[in-house]
């Protein structure tokens, strides 16, 4: 399994036009990113299609990789998640899909073995657990299902402004907890 340093090196080399490094990056990370895209889109063909877009963006933006100071996997996951959410929202606008709540949540536990990642996950889980169930669910749905304030307001049957206030408060609580 490629280490964080390997992945960072592949990105930096890809930024200089190194195609072999880009292929190594693809080989090391495409299964993870396809998993993320599939989780968001719940449609294999569409997720594979988005995966292609994701790596086109990675290739063209590799030189901007450390502008925001993200770790290499977070940078890739963020591109994957955002691309999949963009596609999902386009799909919703064109009205060709099933209702949001009909999408299945992926409960499968992957063989993600990195201790650092696991501890970050535990930290996040612990802080999410300090929110009420609904509010933690709203944060998860925004990130993993790309739900908007309007989607969330409809789901939790509250006015949009209430939803927004809730979520903003949740974020502040989360940040306080995560910074402890």
């Amino acid at each position: 399994m490629a280490t964080r340093d390997d992945i960072e090196r592949y990105i930096l080399r890809a930024a200089q036009g190194d195609r072999a490094a880009f292929k190594s990056l693809y080989d090391a990370t495409s299964a993870k990113l396809l998993g993320v895209a599939l989780r968001v889109l719940n449609d294999r063909a569409e997720a594979e299609d988005v995966l292609q877009d994701i790596y086109v963006k990675v290739w063209h933006n590799a030189a901007r990789y450390n502008v925001n100071g993200l770790s290499p996997m977070t940078w890739l996951i963020t591109i994957a998640r955002n691309s999949a959410v963009d596609r999902l929202r386009k799909r919703h606008r064109s009205g060709t899909t099933e209702a949001l709540d009909e999408r299945i949540a992926d409960g499968g536990a992957g063989p993600e073995a990195q201790a650092a990642a696991a501890s970050e996950r535990r930290r996040l889980d612990a802080c999410m657990a300090e929110l009420t169930v609904d509010r933690a669910e709203a944060v998860r749905r925004a990130y993993l299902d790309g739900e908007t304030y309007a989607d969330l307001a409809a789901r939790f049957e509250v006015p949009l402004n209430t939803m927004r206030t809730w979520l903003r408060r949740s974020l502040l609580k989360l940040r306080e907890c995560l910074s402890r």
Binding site: D6, S24, E48, Q52, S71, M73, E112, A117, A142, L171
Partner: protein, 232 residues
């Protein structure tokens, strides 16, 4: 930091979280991005959220993409490389068309033969060496007259710091190394004289080995892919 600044800092953390979740309107997101460019504290606030939220993907099961995703990606990004699937096409042509027709095609597609190893025309033997999940796929073509084994790695590759080693397993014999697969996706390997007659009907296997290949002369790592050699 004075207490007076705290509400503004809180607001920035909230805003960065909303941005990371994609909850801002296009206009708000645009304004946020403009600030991001000139405000290192805001960048740090955003980076924190991105790291924290990415942890939500930790237990998502990885999904190995099929080989065509990479092939299309490569064709789109690097239109000057035309290599993927070449061997498979040749194998198909070899099966159905006269060798002469293949030669004609090669003549009219000179970029196919201009660089890198050249796949044999109408090879007598072929094999698809593949992992069950498709994470490693190598097409092989073998010419027993010359002892050359052409390999085309269509999917997958060696793990960083590791090597892929190719093995010949003839009948009940122990695996014999045919060498470490080169970094390039296509390569020609020479089969030693004593083994040339044993390739037909044998099994080719690829194992995960330390860089430079197995130190013992026998496979030491996991066998990643196998394929039977058959008449083309």
């Amino acid at each position: 930091m004075s207490d007076r600044d705290q509400p503004k800092k809180d607001e920035d953390h909230i805003l960065a979280g909303e941005y990371a979740l994609g909850l801002l309107s296009a206009e708000e997101a645009g304004a946020f991005e403009a600030r991001l460019g000139r405000d290192p504290d805001l960048r740090a606030a955003y980076a924190q959220w991105a790291e924290d939220f990415a942890a939500m993907t930790d237990d998502i099961t990885p999904q190995v993409p099929p080989a065509h995703v990479w092939q299309r990606l490569e064709a789109g990004l690097f239109p000057d490389t035309r290599r993927t699937g070449r061997l498979r096409r040749l194998a198909l042509w070899g099966g159905g068309l006269a060798a002469a027709a293949v030669l004609v095609l090669l003549v009219f597609l000179p970029d196919l033969v201009g660089r890198g190893p050249v796949p044999p025309v109408d090879p007598p033997y072929v094999a698809q060496i593949s992992a069950e999940d498709g994470s490693l796929v190598v097409q092989a073509a073998y010419d027993d007259a010359t002892g050359t084994l052409f390999v085309d790695r269509e999917a997958g590759g060696a793990a960083p710091g590791r090597a892929l080693e190719l093995w010949l397993i003839a009948g009940e014999d122990a695996p014999v190394s045919l060498g470490v697969m080169p970094q390039d996706t296509q390569a020609v390997l020479a089969v030693p004289g004593g083994l040339r007659g044993r390739v037909a009907g044998a099994v080719l296997a690829i194992s995960d080995e330390p860089e430079g290949g197995s130190p013992t002369g026998a496979p030491t790592g996991e066998v990643l892919a196998t394929g039977a050699v058959r008449d083309s």
